[in-house]
């Protein structure tokens, strides 16, 4: 089913439930991986993904179709994941950098991470990037999103995104080749 039809059905109370389930089926996996790369832990990603879809469900009436529903959901997922990390940092009374280090320590012991040494180093390198660069790198390198879509999700110009991505790749390459 095409997204514009799904949106129409989502806004009607009689077809809302079915259309929402279609939307979840279509985007759950992509959004899961997007969130997982930000929060790293599977259980945290599951919580954030559920909250993302609940927000989509509650706010679908206010979605004004200025952007694609896909980028709108990505924006919600990104904001949910980032605010989840902020709450977590507050809980541990830690700075953003300290939290990233804590997340890496947890990742080493995580049942749902079986990365080798280079993959662990990659996560360590990503964790050293500023937040925006980290998002841009993940979205471009792993999710292969278009710059135009990323621009709509992150509300940043395409030029700035390209520059961020370039810097992020260089920094990560430098860290990984230091091995």
């Amino acid at each position: 089913m095409q997204d514009n039809i799904v949106i129409k059905e989502l806004k009607s109370s009689t077809t809302q439930e079915k259309a929402f389930k279609t939307l979840v089926e279509k985007y759950k996996e992509r959004l899961y991986w997007h969130i997982r790369r930000i929060v790293l832990d599977h259980d945290d990603a599951d919580d954030v993904l559920q909250n993302t879809f609940i927000k989509v469900y509650r706010n679908i009436q206010s979605f004004n179709e200025d952007s694609a529903i896909y980028t709108w959901m990505y924006r919600i997922a990104t904001n949910e994941a980032l605010s989840f990390l902020q709450k977590k940092a507050k809980f541990y009374d830690a700075t953003s950098d300290e939290l990233q280090q804590k997340m890496l320590e947890n990742l080493r012991a995580d049942t749902y991470f079986d990365g080798d040494e280079i993959q662990m180093k990659l996560q360590e390198a990503i964790a050293t990037l500023p937040e925006k660069q980290r998002l841009v790198f993940n979205m471009k390198y792993f999710e292969e999103l278009k710059y135009e879509d990323m621009s709509s999700i992150l509300e940043t110009s395409v030029g700035a995104l390209k520059a961020s991505y370039h810097h992020a790749v260089k920094k990560i390459e430098m860290q990984l080749t230091k091995l």
Binding site: K21, K28, F53, I172
Partner: protein, 167 residues
């Protein structure tokens, strides 16, 4: 006579969508660094994504009933406050402002009888609101309910609805 062969019509073929996807594949190759692995090592539990839709829908249903409970509780709380205010107003009102035909003051005994006969029907929510933060030991009961009766009541009744945490 020489046959003219068009350069475009030689007998080679390309995979379907080769040219339409070319840009995308080219961009992907440019964006892929040899030094940076594409695999991340993240895993998900077996069947996680297959069950996700059902779990999500359950949570949405729970939230809906939780919102309903919250609205009902608010309604109960508002009614209780209104009842307490009216009762307070009646009890605390100075004597000289009572209606002229009310010749006698209400005695404590009258009020107790009124409550005992069940004219004031406090709901569980009213009781929770009224005694919130009050230690049970500080509540003086004229006719205490035996411990066995309380345990039997709790065993027979589902008290989960009263212990829900509402957003």
């Amino acid at each position: 006579m020489k046959r003219k062969v068009s350069k475009n019509k030689i007998d080679f073929s390309v995979p379907e969508n080769y040219f339409s996807d070319f840009d995308k594949r080219l961009e992907s190759s440019i964006n892929t660094s040899e030094a940076i692995p594409k695999a991340t090592g993240f895993k998900v539990p077996d069947g996680y994504l297959d069950n996700f839709g059902d779990r999500l829908w359950n949570k949405i249903d729970q939230n809906k009933s939780s919102v309903r409970t919250s609205k009902i509780r608010r309604l109960y709380a508002m009614s209780s406050i209104a009842a307490i205010l009216i009762l307070g107003f009646i009890i605390m009102k100075p004597k000289n402002t009572f209606a002229t035909d009310q010749s006698e003051e209400l005695t404590t005994f009258d009020i107790n009888t009124y409550i005992d006969e069940g004219f004031i029907n406090l709901s569980t929510y009213d009781i929770i609101e009224t005694f919130e933060g009050v230690s049970l030991e500080d509540i003086e009961m004229a006719d205490p309910i035996p411990r066995e009766e309380i345990i039997e009541y709790l065993n027979q009744n589902n008290i989960d609805n009263y212990t829900l945490t509402v957003e």
